[in-house]
Amino acid sequence: MAERTLHGTGATPRSGVGTVVWYGRDISIPEPDDIEVEPEAEAQRFADAVDAARDELESEREATTERVGEDEAAVFDAHIQFLEDPTIEEAVKTAVNEGHPAPTAVDAAFGQHIERFEGMDGRMAERADDLRDVRDRLLRLLTDGERVDFSDLPDGSVVIAERLTPSDTAQLDPERVAGFATVTGGRTSHASIFARSLALPAVVGVGEDLTTVDSGAEVVIDGDDGTILVGPDDTERAAAAGGSGAAIVDETVTTTDGRHIEVAANIGQPAELEPAAERGADGVGLYRTEFLFLDREGPPSEDEQYEAIREALDAFPDGRVVVRTLDIGGDKRIPYLDLPDEENPFLGERGIRRSLDPDSDLFATQLRALLRAAADGAGDLAIMFPLVATVKELDAALDALDAAAADVEDCSADAVDIEVGVMIETPSAAFMADELAARVDFLSIGTNDLTQYVMAADRENERVGDLHDPTHPGVLRAIHRTVRAAHAEDAWVGLCGEMAGDPELTELLVGLGLDELSMSAVTIPEVKTAVSETEYSAASERADHARLAATRSEVHTTLDT
């Protein structure tokens, strides 16, 4: 039996075993009772750490000014001022004189302010992140902690973190990571999606208990039932290493009565392309382009974007790669773009709204790169626009695509024969699906966001997790409405939310009339198997009953019988 079992939310139907590496908390503050404290020496240690931190910050500011610009470097000025803040300095000095070691004093001095800022709204809460950064920098210098370097993780590492942001996960090498666990987060949080797309065992939303697991501990991450076994015994270790999953299906699949369903992969970074192809993906149903923009100091060049899309097209020479244009905003922040703070970013300027900003050429550059890649790459390119709410936005995006095609020599959209589509994520887009479908080749329903907006339930907030469930009849009716509208306009329609990867929902989605299901690579074999066992005519009838149900539990009763 394992020494301890912790419970969270399983993010992937996978389990794995490995050694814990804490991310962003490589700092362990020594127990104050264990050390002799010389107030003078501690004060000097603190002063030295402040000097060293200032040096680091200044050189980081300089590098950023040079590579990106003065505006983007301004955050380092703020960090230097937090570092030198007299209230911190006084608090640390007082604590040190009372006999506390410098790290404890620093932790306490920042802690009270961090807590206070965290309790405030939007912009103020972000200051808590700044203070946390400065505190951690100081603590690292005080405790000789090393920065966690992801390029250097030992094989078989289980990464544990408070939370993982998109730029954190972009640095993780899936080859070396055996799994991960986070204190916060739910099934649709960024970290979960990342785990599924890489078929990595992951458990999220474990809560504060997770912080008691130390670096170096051996753990089993069971993403199926959402548990973490600390110090597993031989049997548990062997069971976890054994793995699971259905047979890989390389061929395309049809229902028992001959309806072809495309089963494609959601891809968030190039490292996921090969695993997706190996797991039998027919193509890519959602290629997220944000990774190109994250974790760097300036936007990627047109050539760099061209190469990345080209790589994706070449990975699926006989398939289709649906690329979503840049979807920043919401929870995905890009520091160098210096986007204004928004009270409510999920209802703010994200997706196509941001791309259509007349003061930015990001969109035009991306479209040119896409068109060039389509002309040269092996697979078929399709482009879709995220978070469209109005026909006007779609028309503007289509105009931008025409303009980009005219810009790119010998490569008009017609010549390279790309498909163009719209993501259905807003209630408005679902209601306007007929008008939107009339203008494009396909619709793709992003059920994570559609559910969030239809149900008005934050996908990261576990307290409303029950509402954030795409099997509520309200969401199913939005999906049905969209499919019907698309087919009436001879457009195909796909679904690329997390529900697409749940084999227990495959019959429902096929029955609702979807032509394509796109999911994290991990469950592609299971879903392909489920499609091949489904009879479309029966599924269609059952899906009608499901969507016409009054409650979610009635929906599930319909599906279970």
């Binding site: 505006d71 301004a74 803040d85 007299p86 800022f117």
Partner: protein
């Protein structure tokens, strides 16, 4: 010499981010002791980024500044310039 002044904040970001950085930097570059606060509230140490940010003053809010020291007038002139200059025009290179 103690000088007091109340200024209405112009930068869109309020007393945050760059304006706050420039504000604190300016206080630190002068000899005078400066405190700041909402006109009807407590005054805080203007040399503290944490304290200044915690005021939570936004665009259009009034802020009271009190300076005590030989260059009290000069520091208030400079702070007033920062607080009344739209962010885009703010020159932070003079610190």
């Amino acid at each position: 010499m103690t000088v007091e002044r109340t200024v209405t904040i112009v930068p869109e970001a309020g007393l945050h981010a760059r304006p706050a950085s420039a504000f604190v930097q300016t206080v630190n570059d002068h000899e005078a002791e400066v405190s700041a606060g909402r006109p009807d509230g407590d005054l805080v140490q203007a040399a503290s980024m944490i304290a200044v940010t915690s005021l939570g003053v936004g665009q259009g809010d009034d802020i009271k500044l009190v300076a005590d020291g030989p260059d009290a007038e000069a520091v208030l002139d400079e702070l007033e310039r920062i607080l009344t200059t739209p962010e885009a025009e703010l020159n932070t290179d003079d610190g």
